[in-house]
Assembly symmetry: D2
Homo-oligomer: 260 residues x 4
């Protein structure tokens, strides 16, 4: 039609080739959303499991995603430097991932919150950031996991103080200006909590990678049960800051070797 | 932390000021999705109503959206040239709209498809396109409505032929190379259908604008019922190509007058 | 060769269609450059003529440029919304204009500064800015001409005070906090200068447009002199803020009418 | 002024941090330019020296440039991944480099072409391309040097044939479909030219790096001559494809180690 010229106003928004692409989604106004749905404080395990489930479905769906990391109301999905998903078009990649995440979160809500009605549709913002090297990618993931640690240590201390009978304002004042070691100390001496033995899911957040998994199926021919190895996404709570994790999963970084 | 430098890799992606911003979302792989959920052909009214509902919720939520237009598996949301939503950051605007749409579509599915289980999470891509003037914006909307017309005339003819007992291949051959007037003629002489009298929702798609609406409420003081006028989003099936619509709703284009 | 893949790292940088493109160049470190070459203060007419000459050659060379405006060490070149020069690639357009300007400035230096050796190669930065409408384009040009006025009124007052025997510091103090009308008053009462009668080239800067010009040539056939009208770039010192100029040159804005 | 809002239309165009930035300039229409100024074929040494001089001045001026490579009518300037020149703003960097190059080319023309008047101002386009890793940067430079080799081998063969009395068309036909080794063979058997012993400046192009150089000066105190080492840009004709060059100049790649 004579209107088709308007298609030309769509500009190319390809991401720089040879760079890692990270899509980070983050809950919009989850301060209010978590309140409204009475999430437990500081961490609601149902909420964490729902976030992980939505992310798992995204990773199942988008085959190029090599690793994902989530904490609080956010999740980061990593595409390798060699990915050519949607010709690396930023809007396509970002919108596909964020809308998949949102609809999965909504669809699976009732499984994880069987007693809580979903009152408003969850919404997430998303952005795509390029990282040029393995080092900068790892630093990105370390940044998010360090953020998880800092916030969780604070929140754990804060709610321990509050649950012990103080007001939120008193808890805030008690923690103002403290360093990590101070909070560890407070937790230990005042509440007998050894922070480092808390469950890793809270301290480390959640990591999704594709792992060799034994999958049982029944052979159609023989009727016998066969066990095959398949690479399936799984949720871990590992430390991804230290080198150990990356040595254990060398395939994660191999993908960008053609550029480095 | 020492990792925070990675935040700098997020580049500014602001849209050009003074331009209309259009976010178009489009169902990902809806050829398969509509098949899987047995959508009626050529148009499933439940599906249209669900799309409109999801869009309506988006418009309710994002106050800057001034008009939206939907057809098939797509919806376009228009932000005026003067909008400063999220400082006009493209990723923020696009991701917020598309994830809201996706979660609303999922959340309200059962209301519109009470007898059909949602088998897979719906996914939508999204892009933001800038249009510099009222004319180019109107041409954009005309482009989408003309597309609706062309596809719907074709699909209506196609399925009329098929439902009359022909194969899909025969229907395709019958229509190959035909012009609009030929299809109108086929519909009229072979099936006694006057295309122009088909319901506007199919021929024109759906338009959402904010309309003065009488809202009744009970005064807390007097206990009497009061009627107030509020601008609430409503779904229309008007022709938005011709001037008439725009003359009836002069407020739509007024918003960009400071730039033109 | 096996290295050609690196060409893919060149990303598309097209300017939004349907928008006016303005390339503004500005002398790099001209504070020092003008000092070093002993430019007269506040305005050196040789320098202005050289700037205009370089700009004129750019306009002669790049046929899409419809109007240009210069003052101080800067020049703005305007391409109409309908221009498809270099497929609207920002880097191509910007670099071509700025390098043409720089080499012309250098090449013609000796014509305008016959007694001053060019000591260092002149350098200019450049940027391309899109303006979506006639109004925003005109406001852009008004911005630059208003800037010319403000600076020139200040500089004229400043140097008048200095030339009357005060130190630069005294002049600065005398002008601190003054408004336009105060400076006009100072010029008039202290120095008997009516600012508005100063030459327009200083007060208004320089405008280049293509004007119908009588060009004489000798017919090869008849040997007779023929006069033809051609549109040739010419330098004016008009006010481009008020409507008058644009009414006199309606062809300037006509070019974008297909979009507005 | 009330027009200042137009400044907001300047969008941020920063290059991705942590990536090498390469600005490549290329003569505009140098097919015609070299003809008009009767450049020798296939290579005019005066032209090469002038290109190198202009590039040298650019490197002297822009301290962040770490290496530059030139051949034919083009030059590439490399800024390290860690560079923060002009906050990595693409337009600023590109326009500054290209205009410096153009004005230097013009200014020094007469030194290198004492008998040839500069008839038209030279013009260069420029683009900035980001390379995420040392490997991709090296592949970029290899791409340009391989291009130099391919073109020079072709041109050397072509003009040898032409100078031997054939037409240009005959030369073209003779070379059509030949591989490198064929052209080497033609040169050797027909013209007794061993291509590999031709001067490196033609075969390899020109490389500029900063080298420790002994600089003599007279001490102001003692009046004695002192020799100091300074890093000054120098022109080489080395092979930059093989590893040797990079091993000899480890400082070139060190600069990006913080990211890799
Ligand atoms: N109670 C509770 N709150 C949580 C949990 N996980 C996340 N939240 C809350 C804590 C924060 O208020 C919020 C996440 O902080 P953000 O910085 O993302 O802010 P918010 O989403 O409110 O605003 P935004 O739209 O992202 O700018 O979500 C949880 O497991 N339990
Ligand atoms: N049966 C039926 N199908 C519909 C209806 N509305 C849309 N569709 C189908 C027709 C098309 O196959 C599809 C929309 O076409 P698209 O060009 O968007 O393709 P699709 O979504 O498959 O792929 P994409 O991911 O957008 O490239 O949705 C409906 O009301 N009924
Ligand atoms: N004496 C004299 N100076 C002039 C004349 N025209 C321009 N200039 C000087 C005044 C300013 O110092 C300078 C222009 O100011 P800018 O803001 O462009 O600063 P400058 O070029 O030094 O730095 P930049 O690289 O643009 O950030 O040029 C003139 O006709 N005579
Ligand atoms: N005779 C002669 N010609 C040369 C020499 N160096 C470069 N050239 C010419 C050969 C080519 O025609 C031209 C460079 O080719 P380009 O692909 O850059 O094309 P050109 O500059 O004409 O067009 P462009 O504006 O870059 O698209 O310059 C030289 O030393 N001697
Ligand atoms: O933590 P981020 O990256 O979301 O940063 P922010 O401070 O929330 O800012 P924004 O979401 O507006 O980018
Ligand atoms: O109709 P559109 O705009 O979605 O265009 P397309 O041909 O589907 O292409 P894409 O979705 O890949 O932009
Ligand atoms: O006057 P401009 O546009 O050059 O603005 P500036 O303040 O000089 O800044 P820059 O040249 O760094 O954009
Ligand atoms: O060789 P290049 O990179 O200049 O590529 P090109 O084919 O000349 O194209 P353009 O100069 O238009 O980018
Ligand atoms: Mg945020
Ligand atoms: Mg949030
Ligand atoms: Mg958050
Ligand atoms: Mg599509
Ligand atoms: Mg679709
Ligand atoms: Mg569609
Ligand atoms: Mg400046
Ligand atoms: Mg300047
Ligand atoms: Mg200036
Ligand atoms: Mg080129
Ligand atoms: Mg060239
Ligand atoms: Mg070239």
């Amino acid at each position: 039609s004579r209107y088709e010229y308007v298609k030309q106003f769509e500009l190319d928004d390809s991401a720089l080739p040879g760079t890692w692409m990270v899509v980070r989604i983050d809950g919009r106004g989850f301060h209010g959303f978590t309140d409204m749905h009475k999430f437990e404080k500081p961490n609601d395990l149902r909420a964490i499991h729902l976030m992980n489930r939505a992310a798992l479905e995204v990773v199942r769906n988008i085959r190029d995603i090599i690793i994902a990391y989530g904490q609080s109301d956010e999740y980061s999905f990593v595409l390798p430097a060699s990915s050519t998903l949607y010709s690396r078009r930023i809007s396509k990649i970002t919108s596909t991932i964020v809308s998949l995440f949102a609809s999965n979160y909504t669809m699976h809500w009732a499984e994880y919150f069987p007693d809580t009605k979903l009152l408003v549709p969850p919404c997430f913002d998303a952005r795509l950031v390029c990282y040029p090297t393995q080092k900068t990618l790892r630093d990105y993931l370390s940044w998010r996991q360090a953020d998880c640690h800092i916030n969780n240590l604070y929140n754990t201390s804060f709610w321990a103080i509050v649950h012990s009978g103080k007001t939120e304002q008193e808890a805030e004042e008690r923690l103002r200006g403290t360093f990590s070691k101070d909070k560890n100390e407070i937790l230990f001496s005042d509440f007998n909590i050894n922070y480092n033995t808390l469950e890793a899911v809270y301290r480390k957040g959640s990591v999704i990678i594709r792992q060799e998994t034994e999958v049982k199926s029944v052979s159609q021919k023989s009727g016998e049960e066969v066990v095959r190895l398949r690479r399936l996404p799984a949720v871990l709570h590992d430390d991804i800051i230290s080198n150990e994790f990356w040595k254990e999963h060398p395939e994660l970084l191999v993908s960008s070797q053609e550029y480095e």
